[in-house]
């Protein structure tokens, strides 16, 4: 199986969005609890939390986990 047109374009999009310094999934997990609470409150992100937001836009796995986290908090909720 080779790459189709969509995959080539996704690779180019990933390359175009690449930053010299990016946090990895471990760092993202470490800050995710604070990030989700700040996001739900709608308050301003610190620089460290902004990097988590950047990671979430480029990492599909962390993004999936973040979506599940938000649902779990909404439904199970901090009660």
């Amino acid at each position: 199986m080779g790459l189709d047109a969509d995959q080539v374009q996704r690779l180019l999009a990933m390359v175009a969005d690449t930053r010299d310094e990016e946090i990895d999934c471990g760092h993202c997990l470490a800050g995710m609890a604070e990030f989700v609470e700040v996001s739900l409150l709608g308050t301003e992100l610190t620089e460290a939390l902004a990097r988590i937001e950047e990671h979430l836009t480029t990492c599909p796995e962390c993004s999936e986990e973040y979506a599940l986290l938000r649902e779990l908090l909404r439904e199970g909720a901090n009660s």
């Binding site: 690779l11 175009a16 599940l68 779990l72």
Partner: protein, 239 residues
């Protein structure tokens, strides 16, 4: 799971302190009548050895089980036994990492981030268990068909073709075999932790492998006159 923690009378396995899903679990009914714990109370109770720890673990377990089955059902679902394992693993990891909690969020939110990661890991393992890296990477980066819409303006099509050709040259010349494998598998939709499982490296290591590869391609394209703005102009206007 073998997690050892200090204990007054030696050591004990943390897993033995975690309420089980079967008969023993019924002895640890959640203490639903008490007021919600503060972060400090969670930490103190979980660090204690005795009734406070047992009650705190039972409360955390009940809290996690309140929403996990429904949320996982919407993602393909896990058998109840595996959901119980997810909760069990979460409690073990929470006890193991209490020192990592910095109090920047509610304790239950922190616990839920750990549960979300463990649950998604199980879901991905289930989804990808029968797929090998070879299935996804057999033909490497060779495009399976034209990457350019034949109906596009010829000049735009030429610009896009030049970028794609240079990208694929760089993939061949500048990336290691492992980097190529990781990138192709990721483009095939395989999650990083599943790629890592097959390569024998961690999810973080896969992320770094991919980041180093993307950075090399980015620098190579820039050196050829195709910076991020040029790529976006050629390919992403319609998105």
């Amino acid at each position: 799971m073998k997690v050892e923690v200090p204990h007054e009378e030696g050591t004990e396995r943390v897993s033995s302190a975690v309420p089980r899903k079967n008969g023993a679990a019924r002895a640890y009914a959640p203490s639903v009548k008490r007021a919600p714990r503060t972060n400090d109370e969670w930490i103190a109770d979980l660090r204690s050895r005795g009734a406070e720890q047992t009650a705190a673990l039972a409360d955390l377990r009940a809290y996690l089980l309140r929403a996990l089955p429904g949320c996982l059902d919407r993602r393909g679902g896990l058998p109840l036994e595996l959901i119980e394992d997810v909760v069990q693993d979460t409690l073990i990891r929470v006890l193991d990492r209490l020192g990592d909690f910095e109090g920047r969020s509610r304790f239950t939110t922190w616990t839920t981030t750990i549960a979300a990661r463990i649950a998604m890991t199980e879901l991905r393992r289930k989804r990808w268990k029968d797929v090998s890296l070879d299935d996804l990477t057999a033909d490497g980066m060779r495009p399976s068909h034209s990457t350019v819409d034949p109906g596009r303006d010829p000049e735009e099509a030429t610009a896009r073709n030049r970028i794609v050709r240079r990208l694929l040259e760089l993939v061949d010349s500048d990336l290691s075999e492992r980097q190529r494998t990781a990138i192709v598998a990721e483009l095939g939709g395989m999650p990083q932790e599943e790629i890592g499982r097959r390569l024998g490296i961690s999810r973080n290591a896969v992320y770094k492998l991919g980041h180093d590869a993307r950075r090399k391609l980015q620098l190579g394209l820039e050196a050829s006159g195709f910076d991020a703005a040029a790529i976006r102009a050629a390919f992403m206007q319609e998105r």
